[in-house]
């Protein structure tokens, strides 16, 4: 995002009328995309649900950790009693097999962990990936070599090995969700860095980067002002996908001992324990899977919208002369 987006309107007293600021243009472009707006609402709702989890479960009158052994059929492996996984007025989405814990409560509480961890981890990944990718792409041969090799190392080291290391180093008092987000973020930035580096190398050959160099900007400033906006599209697209991936990685880490502590629920954990129940208690699998899917879809559509809105050319250039009669943005 260019500084123009943030700069205050100048009161220069110049004769010309003040131009629409970048931020305002961004909003204008975003507003024209209905799908993106719907997606934004969905994302906001999800975040709201996560934040309001205690409130929602209070309304339902349940909590995510209380066992209800009477609600499951112990002789049949603990499958919920009743139709549709034990859906009832008390348990809106039924109960978990074996334990009888309330699924609605677990789902909304799970949203907190999953979304929180995934967003935070993605943030760290993107930060590291973009920083390292740009530095490698712009730096001299030595910098590029060092960073590219470091990227190779991080990609090559399996998650399991690295998380073991981090686990051993971090004292056990460290807050778990933060640790999980950090572990994922610190371990899985390799792909982002590679994409960004490749893109940077392409972009830096362009004359406008040369012009910026002549302006006297530092490399860092060039990266931020000239390259970042051009990188936004691929990075944002990728980040929207990193979020669901991170949600599943969180589940995997739980098995390794660095996940969030039980009985805290997370969508990833629910998915991993639900997969075997797909036949006996399908809703147990479908609920977290559906929630994840909706999240991913909304994030992707929103990401697309933002990407389009960020590109001043997108609205007009994309369709140039396609022969399509429809007017308006793509």
């Amino acid at each position: 995002m260019s500084e123009a987006l943030l700069a205050p309107e100048a009161g220069t007293g110049a004769t010309a009328p003040a131009p629409a600021s970048g931020a305002r243009q961004f909003w204008r472009r975003l507003r024209t995309q209905r799908a993106a707006l719907v997606a934004a609402v969905v994302v906001a709702l999800l975040v709201l649900v996560a934040l309001a989890a205690p409130l929602l479960t209070a309304v339902e009158g349940q909590d995510p950790s209380t066992y209800h052994p009477d609600l499951v059929d112990s002789g049949r492996g603990g499958v919920p009693i009743g139709s549709f996984g034990g859906i009832s007025a008390e348990h809106w989405l039924g109960v978990e097999p074996q334990t009888g814990r309330d699924l609605f409560a677990r789902l909304v509480y799970g949203a907190r962990v999953s979304l929180g961890v995934a967003f935070a981890a993605t943030f760290v990944q993107v930060l590291l990936g973009v920083g390292i990718g740009i530095a490698a792409g712009l730096g001299n041969r030595l910098v590029d070599q060092v960073l590219s090799r470091a990227t190779d190392v991080i990609v090559a080291l399996p998650l399991m090995v690295l998380s073991l290391a981090l686990m051993a180093i971090v004292p056990s008092g460290f807050p778990r969700p933060v640790l999980v987000a950090l572990v994922i973020g610190l371990v899985a930035w390799g792909s982002t860095a590679k994409i960004v580096r490749a893109q940077t190398i392409t972009l830096k050959e362009l004359d406008y980067v040369a012009a910026a160099r002549l302006s006297g900007w530092s490399t860092w400033r060039i990266a931020r002002r000239e390259l970042l906006p051009g990188l936004a599209a691929p990075v944002m697209t990728y980040a929207a996908l990193l979020i669901p991936m991170n949600i599943t990685v969180e589940a995997a880490l739980s098995f390794l001992g660095v996940g969030v502590k039980p009985p805290t629920a997370s969508w990833g954990q629910m998915l991993t324990s639900a997969d075997v129940w797909y036949q006996a208690a399908p809703q147990y699998l479908l609920l977290p899977a559906g929630a994840l899917f909706v999240t991913v879809l909304a994030l992707t559509v929103l990401g697309d919208g933002v990407r389009t809105a960020l590109d001043p050319r997108a609205a007009s250039r994309l369709r140039i002369g396609t022969g399509q009669k429809r007017e308006g943005g793509a």
Binding site: A156, Q199, Y238
Partner: protein, 329 residues
């Protein structure tokens, strides 16, 4: 080109050394008493001491690391109790657990994971890039929306869910494909592919969305470029513009990502190997980590690293061949 290869090789060596050092360090601080695990839970302190000596676990880490390095470059001899066994360079040591040479262990698992990774890559490229192209072409239409939703559903579902469901339906109920098992390519190429089809498909479904979105985004970016306007103004059809000119812009990021995913699949295909019962490297690695079988872990991680480096070098060459503006360096 030779210069490029030499520099790449040197870089690879540094990368691999760094990896091995990290793994040694990690396992030095990680919990788990190697000798106790190797000996068995009920081993007495005396027996544990015996094993510790046998595996030379009481040597300082740097000595062990040095021995390891020596083995890699010159080979090592090991006692089997009744005799000695020579482990040729590059010797990655013996597994603590099974007393097998790690090099041979890896050579046995490599074809499995290699087959899995290669096929999956082909599938995800076809599926992902194909979907990406279609959705760039039909952008904003129903086709795109449906495609997007389908591929995203793939991403949002972990491999053990997709794989298991596919296996139940395709193998168990419909009986279309056999329950996967590894048949070496050299034994029967047709059975090899037939058996691996399902694992490939499951992995591709997971990855496809990533490639689809990336392809689509890069293509839309290119579609806004001036040269696309030129071809439109010359009556070149949308299909050719999309399939030829815009797709070309997606080449670099797709190749870069593929290289990474392909490389890291060598150590990271744990879940699918476990699910489909394929005796590959990922599964072995996870097991080795669990039982703190350091030589196996180091060996496996090094081989994974090797493939990551290799895949990236290949990607660079491909990229440079395709885009002559890039000078290999």
């Amino acid at each position: 080109m030779t210069g490029f290869l030499l520099r790449r090789a040197a870089g690879a060596l540094v990368t691999l050394l760094a990896i091995s050092v990290i793994v040694y360090a990690v396992f030095y601080i990680a919990p788990g008493d190697v000798a106790q695990i190797t000996c068995g839970p009920r081993c007495s302190p005396a027996q544990v001491a015996q094993v510790t000596e046998q595996l030379r676990l009481d040597d300082p880490v740097y000595v062990r690391y040095w021995d390891f390095l020596q083995g890699v470059f010159t080979g090592r001899d090991y006692s089997t109790g009744t005799g000695t066994e020579h482990c040729d360079a590059p010797c990655l040591g013996l597994s603590y657990q099974s007393d097998q040479q790690v090099t041979q262990l890896i050579l046995a698992k490599l074809p499995v994971t290699g087959s899995l990774a290669l096929g999956a890559m082909v599938m995800w490229l076809i599926l992902g890039v194909g979907t990406g192209v279609l959705s760039a072409w039909r952008r904003g239409r129903v086709t795109e929306r449906v495609l997007t939703a389908v591929t995203l559903a793939g991403t949002a579902t972990p491999v053990f869910v997709i794989g298991l469901l596919l296996m139940i339906v395709v193998c168990g109920q419909l009986n279309w494909l056999p329950f996967p098992q590894y048949v070496p390519f050299t034994d029967d190429p047709q059975q090899w592919a037939w058996n691996l089809l399902l694992p490939w498909l499951s992995l591709a479904l997971i990855e496809a969305a990533k490639y689809a979105r990336l392809t689509r985004a890069s293509m839309l970016e290119t579609l806004a470029d001036d040269h696309v306007r030129t071809f439109r103004a010359y009556g070149v059809g949308e299909r050719s513009i999309i399939g030829k000119h815009a797709l070309r812009g997606a080449f670099a990021p797709v190749i870069a990502l593929s290289a990474n995913d392909f490389g890291s699949m060598f150590g990271g295909a744990v879940l699918s190997e476990t699910l489909f019962g394929l005796p590959g490297m990922g599964r072995e690695l996870v097991h080795a980590v669990k039982v703190v079988d350091l030589p196996v872990v180091v060996g496996m991680v090094l081989v994974t690293g090797f493939f990551v480096v290799l895949a990236n070098a290949v990607a660079d060459v491909l990229y440079a061949v395709a885009d002559r503006r890039v000078v290999l360096s």
